[in-house]
Amino acid sequence: MGDWITQSSQLIASVEEPHGAESHGGDHGDGHAWVSWEGLLVYVAIVVGTLFVLMAQAKKGLNNRFFTNKLTQLFEQVYLFIENMCVGTIGAHGRRYVPMIMTMWMLVFSGNLLALFFPTSPTADLSFNLGLALVSVAYVQYEGIRANGLFGHLGHFAGPKLGGFLALLISPIIFVIEIVSELMKNVSLSLRLFGNIDGGHRAAEAMNTLGAGIYVPFGAFLLPIKLLTVVVQAMIFCLLTAVYLSLVTHHDDDHGHGHEAEAGHAEVAPAH
């Protein structure tokens, strides 16, 4: 038991203290600590454990009438929020993606929230975010293939249907551009989240250093804006996933929605 506690303490400490380059974590010369492999494991365990404890508590309040448990009500609101987002962005068939997007939202939100209380967090780690983004984009491709068939889905990448010589000339170029664009979605999703959460930490650290001489933690004043970032980034990650899903799964009768979703994407993307 004592050994386990010691090892756990070392794992946490490994997050906060700089490591050598060989451990794929630590100080990169600017005094900022990267989360180590083991540290990430601990943080993910904290996030997942907390989520499961909360979900287990909320599950007790489930019934077929009015939810009286506050936690259940909270999760219900999250569910309805995600459902509205999915239906609004993807269309009526967007409800089937609610479990996946809600799970993603809870993970990103909890990971971001952890960043308010700890020196780093899972979502402040680019590898974690890249994993999330890869799963998100892979899921989008899977759904695209499921909805349109393999060739239909690949046909989307070739752009509008052209005839004759133009098809031979333009379609391959568009196809390559679209493939690159799809790959860049991973980079875009992961870097945006990483930049916002890690940037928040760096800003807080810099401001704390600024006030160290007079013992004033200026970094604490950033808490409100960091809290806003926590919510907004979780929402953006899920909204973009919903938009990507909408683009690959929209049907003829959903065209109006699809265009709205594209418009929504166009509005969101430049802001972040």
Binding site: N64, L80, R96, M100, L107, L130
Partner: protein, 206 residues
């Protein structure tokens, strides 16, 4: 909402197995494989560990089905059931409302009918009462006329009787007075005639 329960991905068990493999594979990759471009990225301030990413993908592949079946599906089902229950309750309420509206209309129709009947009866009673009143008034008028005529007749009779009595009394007085004044041999029959003639002349202007 019920769509939330539908499977939108590969079978959960496949995801969990692949996730477990990726989780441990990522750990192994992170500890044993060193890629040059990762070191380059790290040197540029981009801390990327593909092993971590692979492991996280594994964790997510496990978490998605687990969280879905542990919590999201029951939550969605509860919300769906509640919505169904609410819809049923609203449906019942709607039916009751329609029934109540129908009853209200029936009641109003019956009320209107009852009021019309009551009005008709009242009008009938009023007419009957008026007719009775006129009849009674007519009867009373006739009776009053009869009484009035009877009274007039009696008055007339009484008057005639009083006049006759008065005349007789006056005659008696006149005779007595004449007898005392004249005390002569005047024929009684003739005197009476004289007095009667006199009285006739007295009554004439009446």
């Amino acid at each position: 909402m019920s769509n939330a329960k539908q499977s939108s991905g590969p079978p959960a068990i496949v995801g969990i197995i692949v996730g477990a493999v990726l989780m441990f594979g990522g750990f192994w990759f992170s500890k044993n494989v060193k890629l040059e471009f990762i070191k380059t990225l790290e040197a540029q301030g981009i801390p990327l560990d593909p092993g971590k990413t692979i492991s996280i993908i594994g964790v997510l592949l496990i978490l998605f089905p687990v969280i879905k079946f542990f919590f999201i599906a029951p939550l969605a089902e509860a919300i769906q059931n509640r919505t169904t229950e609410l819809e049923r309750t609203f449906g019942e309420a709607e039916n009751l409302r329609a029934e109540m509206t129908q009853m209200k209309q029936d009641y109003e129709r019956r009320l209107v009918q009852t009021e019309a009947d009551a009005r008709e009866q009242i009008q009938g009673q009023i007419k009957e009462a008026q007719s009775l009143r006129q009849q009674m008034m007519a009867e009373a008028g006739v009776k009053a006329e009869e009484l009035k005529a009877s009274a007039a007749r009696e008055i007339e009779a009484q008057k005639q009787q009083a006049i006759a009595e008065l005349r007789h009394y006056v005659v008696e007085l006149a005779l007595q007075a004449t007898e005392k004044l004249v005390e002569a041999n005047v024929d009684e029959e003739r005197n009476r005639k004289l007095v009667a003639d006199f009285l006739e002349t007295v009554e004439a202007p009446r």
